[in-house]
């Protein structure tokens, strides 16, 4: 608080107030801080402090074998952990030159699009909460729960999933998983429609978000924006289309783009992306069902050096025992190489820059975290706006503390 000062007659001194948003503030939705300087209610400057939950993943990764690094990637963007898991697996598979069966690709796509939906629905409903509409949030949360139940059927955990292995999945999808997926396909679209009815043509919501925190396409590109935030500014860059991975080229979908890059456009782009993800899931599920006979049972590629053998085989077969031992003890070496591999994460281009020197663990692993890169634009986005607008801007950027800090 600024102190009371007696000013000489006829002299008006400009006074500003400095307030802290965070590190633990309900409006930040994560552990990071904004030091905001206010003139009345107008923001003069905003400086960000990050790093409160920095866990040195890049250092730890240099001491771990590939399958142990998967658990680190869970904790980057913890709202869509499977995307990070598969991003890492795909990086390793590209390094090793493994060919993945189509069914595995399609199963992965189902899970990746489900996690994209679960991430976007959190972001959009939080924008609602921060603009004063709480019920939409609770309504959508039920379906995030259903998505988490699907994860649970597949890998046994919900938030930090550690799903899949290099080469595929640890086990085939159960019938319950497919039943829950069918339930999701059936029940989710009308719920999303109803959510849209609450927001999209709502005068109060439009007034709170339109023209708030805008960014031009040129500035967004210069700031390294990717994902929905870049597309809201009007650039149709999507890694799924530009550099298809995991057989995304087999699917028919469109990339929604906005025009002004403000909070309202970001909301609409995420909303449409959820619908496109739903289309992809439907197509992928249909393709999965078309596999017949032995093909319908495939859930991993044949990579004995990196894919843990079935536990039953470990007890009965010599070869499986050897591979099991080698993988667990970290005796399998990675080939020397250098690769940058990116996937379309929920927040943008999630990249893995991996350098190996022929040892058992990476020589260097760098995560390109979209959140970290676009958060630096925050002070430019909020300058001259109101404090309440700054909070909506923060939530519509979808800042995830885990992805900021790595």
């Amino acid at each position: 608080m600024s102190e009371h000062v007696t000013l000489p007659d006829g002299h008006i001194e400009k006074q500003t107030t400095t307030i802290n948003l965070g590190p633990t503030h309900p409006a930040t939705h994560g552990v990071f801080q904004n030091v905001i300087e206010l003139d009345g209610e107008t923001i003069v400057s905003a400086e960000q402090t990050v790093g409160y939950i920095h866990r040195a993943f890049e250092k730890i990764a240099e001491y771990r074998t590939p399958y142990q690094i998967t658990t680190l990637t869970d904790r980057l963007n913890y709202c869509s952990a499977p995307l990070n898991n598969f991003g890492w697996h795909i990086t390793c598979e590209r390094l090793l030159g493994i060919k993945i069966p189509k069914r595995v690709d399609y199963l992965r796509i189902i899970i990746m699009e489900l996690s994209r939906i679960s991430d976007h629905l959190i972001c959009n409903s939080i924008v609602g909460v921060d603009s004063g509409a709480f019920s939409g949030f609770l309504y959508l949360m039920q379906y995030r729960e259903l998505i988490y139940e699907i994860y649970e059927e597949i890998c046994g955990s919900r938030l930090t999933t550690n799903m899949g292995r290099i080469g595929g999945f640890e086990r085939n999808f159960t019938n319950q998983a497919f039943e829950k997926l069918e339930r999701f396909i059936k029940e989710w679209p009308p719920v999303l429609d109803e959510f849209d009815n609450l927001f999209i043509r709502n005068r109060i919501f439009i007034d709170r978000t339109k023209g708030v925190g805008p960014i031009s396409a040129e500035r967004a590109l210069n700031y390294g924006f990717t994902g929905p935030n870049l597309r809201a500014a009007g650039v149709d860059y999507d890694v799924r289309v530009h550099t298809p991975y995991s057989s995304y080229e087999d699917f028919d979908f469109t990339i929604p783009v906005g025009t002004t890059g403000d909070c309202y456009d970001r909301f609409l782009v995420r909303d449409q992306e959820m619908r496109q993800s739903m289309e992809i899931i439907k197509q992928a599920y249909q393709k999965v069902q078309e596999f017949k006979g032995a093909e319908a049972e495939v859930f991993h590629a044949d990579v004995p050096d990196f894919y843990l053998p079935d536990k039953k085989d470990v007890y009965t077969k010599m070869e499986a025992l050897i591979y099991h031992f080698k993988i667990i003890m970290g005796e399998t070496k990675l080939p020397a190489g250098e690769i940058y591999s990116a996937i379309e994460g929920a927040n943008g281009e999630l990249g893995f820059y991996l350098i190996t020197d022929g040892g058992r663990s990476p020589y260097r692993l760098h995560f390109r975290r979209p959140c970290f890169i676009y958060y630096q634009a925050y002070s430019e986005l909020t300058k001259g706006g109101l404090l309440s607008d700054a909070i909506i801007t923060m939530s519509s950027l979808n800042l995830i503390a885990g992805e900021l800090d790595a």
Binding site: V50, G51, H54, A56, E58, K59, I60, Y63, R94, L95, R219, L221, N222, Y223, G224, V235, Y237, H242, T243, G337, E338, I339, Y340, A342, E349, G351, Y353, I355, Y363, R364, H366, R368, F372, I373, Y375, Q376, A377, D405, A406
Partner: protein
Amino acid sequence: MALSNEIIRHKLTEKFGDQLYDWSEPYGMLTFTSDKDLNLKVLQYLFDEPSLGFQFLTDLCAVHYPNNEGKELAVVYHLHNLRENVRIRYKIFTDIKKPDVFSAYALYSAANWMERETYDFFGVNFVGHPNLKRILNIEEMEYFPLRKEYPLEDQKRTDKDDEMFGRI
């Protein structure tokens, strides 16, 4: 005409000649190196030249090679031409005793935090950066933790009072 690695290489060699070296294409991504004093000139040319148009800075990070005498630290730029969808990787090496590298902040606003992160973990001193201070670690830290001489903490060390952290 699609922008291929050969065209990029030809264009760059035309402009810079022998100053760019160590050309390779690991996993299809064109990779090359130059002396560190040249980095802004190369980045500016890649940005401005209409037929190249590498205007998107995807990633910037450093790598530490302790045995590479006099060139211990590598700074790696990943650049992307979004129109043609081509990526390239550009490296410069610097002496760890005098890790001064020109900042790319004027060209890419995105480089601001990426360079701060690189400074924080490797101690690369970006000359011309407006606000070069630590970003993820505490400011009082006196070393650069991602350098190879700092191993992970020994899990069995006993000389530390860990009572408050539940690791007795």
